[in-house]
């Protein structure tokens, strides 16, 4: 595995008119590595993703792919360079079949000339195979509508799709946010699987637990700037949570909870801390 990062941002700024959203963002991801981008709502995560995915061009600074500076002409251009984004709701279409979802925009066809026919059989077969390879064994029928799948399975389908279409960088935008514990574990397994296959993964989340399970490298984003950048094992979960919440707030909250516990025979307040 080469040491050149697959994708790298150098001192990237992004402003919309007078509003600066990102300041001096520098980060890099190598193949087979998971970078976790942590940040509270409004920290600029979405803008950063969109910059990585070619939706926005950076105002200043540069984006490098395989060590070469590039300017994406649009999301399609970024995709062609192997940068795939899987959004929160998976980019799947509930009322379409697994096979059709999987090949959306890249439909396999048979026939010739203008009389192209969507090759349903091949599409279904490959889709089911690929999804199963990622460890989702419950999907066996490519004609099934995606609306009948669970949230985790939909997310996994979208990831499997990106991997199949040659993604080298996988940007996952809050893939576990709306999922239950079991479903989230599912998705995390798939993130691991993608990593094992040598993909560079950028995993955006605000759930520290999920990040710590799969991440090799962490960056905490606060108000559009990277507030901390560290590797696996360098910081504890509490420290990270602290950082994300801007430090002081979390410590105050903790103190108030401890105060409560002292006066209530060691019982925590009814509202438990966010898991």
């Amino acid at each position: 595995m080469s040491d050149t990062p697959v994708i790298e941002l150098r001192n990237v700024d992004k402003s919309f008119g007078p509003i600066d959203v990102l300041h001096e963002i520098s980060l890099k991801v190598k193949a087979g590595e998971v970078l976790c981008l942590l940040g509270d709502n409004g920290a600029g995560k979405s803008t950063l993703i969109k910059t990585l995915a070619g939706v926005h061009a950076p105002t200043r600074g540069e984006v490098l792919v395989d060590g070469q500076p590039v300017k994406f002409s649009g999301p399609k251009d970024a995709q062609n360079r192997g940068i795939a984004t899987v959004h929160q709701f998976g980019g799947t279409y509930p009322l379409m079949s697994v096979g059709r979802n999987f090949f959306m925009g890249e439909e396999p066809t048979k026939g010739f000339g203008p009389f192209k026919v969507f090759d349903r059989k091949t599409a279904n077969k490959i889709a089911v195979e690929e999804v199963q390879k990622m460890g989702i064994t419950r999907i066996t029928d490519g004609d099934r509508l995606v609306g009948g799948l669970s949230g985790g399975e939909r997310q996994s389908l979208a990831i499997a799709r990106a991997v199949y279409f040659g993604a080298r960088v996988l940007i996952l935008d809050e893939p576990t946010a709306a999922l239950g514990v079991k479903q989230a574990a599912h998705v995390l397994r798939i993130v691991n699987e993608a990593k094992k296959r040598g993909l560079a993964v950028i995993f955006i989340t605000h759930q520290v637990m999920h990040a710590m399970t799969v991440g090799d490298h962490f960056a905490v984003l606060i108000r559009g700037a990277i507030a901390a950048d560290f590797r696996k094992g360098e910081k504890s979960r509490e420290e990270i949570t602290d950082l994300m919440a801007g430090g002081q707030n979390m410590a105050d909250l903790e103190a108030s909870i401890e105060g409560y516990m002292e006066t209530h025979d060691g019982h925590p307040p009814k509202v438990s801390a966010a898991e």
Partner: protein, 359 residues
């Protein structure tokens, strides 16, 4: 594990099981058609509902709505609406009439010219919707009145009248565009009528339906149309040219409506600027009865086809029965309600097809 997966594959793949058939999206529309057909066949038996001539009454009516309903259905699947078809029908008729009368064009040039004009209007609709992000219901409601106004104004300015006569188009052209067709096998007493007095528009509708079926369900573009209605943002991210495709769909619906105007004009040898407000609702009813989801992302051409047939029967069928004619609208309203409720059930069946297999 291997065993269960095999079992699942066989039940999912066969598609011949009754449940599998019921899960098809057009099943509701087809079932509704059969019910309505039987109902009117029984109550309309004495008044020749089932005779070739009787059937032509509702088939001819259905064909005109149907030609418009299919592209309107496409738009609805893509998450949009087109109301302006109501003014596009007369626009098609009068543009063709003026092109032949005032500009002396050959009938086929005139038809081509009409299609170009209709395509341009559709393009404007599409551009307005994709550029402004204003809901297409409002945009096309506005263009409906703009086109209606232009119909009346330009027709008065250019031809000096709102009632145009359309010259005879010649045998071949009339045969294709607007004529009554009959097919009777045998002679005299042994003769058997396959169909009688079917208008050309019926055959245009059939051909158009087949072409549209190919576009939506067989070709890869169909996927894109569904994706646009399912989740436009994701579709764009997947590299689908959503704006271009949407504009193309608006052009298709405008051209289809104009084509209906052309066939009516050639058939009746006259064209009028009267806006056909009824057809707006008729086409939407057909699409909804056909099982297309109003919010987009779901529907079939076959379903719309059956929905149109059902609507045609209910709209015209009452004339063959002894029911009071005043009940006509009530029948259509009830049909629409039943269809929507039924489609909802069928759609749930379709999405939940998986949960049962969990164990």
């Amino acid at each position: 594990m291997a065993d269960t997966s095999n079992n699942e594959k066989s039940t999912g793949g066969s598609g011949f099981s009754l449940l599998g058939l019921l899960r098809r999206p057009e099943a509701g529309a087809a079932a509704g058609f059969i019910l309505v057909f039987i109902f009117f066949s029984y109550f309309g038996w004495d008044k020749n509902f089932l005779t070739p001539l009787g059937s032509s009454t509702w088939l001819n009516f259905a064909s005109k709505v149907g030609i418009i309903a299919i592209p309107v259905g496409f738009l609805m699947i893509a998450g949009e609406l087109d109301i302006s078809v109501g003014a596009m029908i007369p626009a098609g008729g009068i543009v063709m009439a003026m092109a032949t009368n005032q500009f002396g064009m050959n009938i086929w040039f005139a038809v081509g010219f009409t299609m170009v004009v209709a395509g341009m209007i559709g393009w404007v609709n599409g551009m307005l919707v994709t550029r402004t992000q204003v809901p297409s219901l409002i945009v096309t409601l506005a263009t409906l009145f703009v086109i209606a106004g232009l119909n009346a104004y330009l027709s008065k300015q250019i031809a000096g009248t709102t009632q145009h006569s359309v010259p005879d188009a010649g045998i071949v052209s009339e045969f294709i565009l607007g004529d009554y067709h009959s097919w009777i096998i045998g002679e005299g007493e042994n003769s058997f009528t396959i169909f009688r007095s079917l208008q050309s528009s019926f055959f245009i509708w059939i051909v158009f339906s087949i072409v549209c079926f190919y576009i939506l369900h067989v070709s890869p573009w169909g996927n894109w149309i569904f994706a646009m209605g399912g989740d436009q943002e994701s579709a764009r991210n997947a590299g689908i040219p959503t704006n271009g495709l949407k504009i193309a769909l608006f052009m298709l619906s405008a051209m289809a409506a104009a084509l209906v105007g052309v066939t009516e004009g050639v058939l009746a040898n006259s064209a009028s600027t009267t806006t056909q407000f009824g057809m707006i609702f008729n086409s939407i009813i057909c699409v909804v009865v056909g099982g297309v989801l109003l919010t987009g992302g779901f529907g079939t051409v076959t379903g719309t086809f059956f929905g149109t047939l059902t609507f045609g029967i209910v709209f015209q069928g009452i004339n063959f029965t002894s029911f009071d004619k005043d009940l006509n609208m009530l029948f259509i309203g009830v049909l629409l309600l039943i269809a929507v409720l039924m489609n909802d059930t069928f759609r749930k069946l379709a999405t939940n097809a998986s949960t049962k297999k969990k164990g």
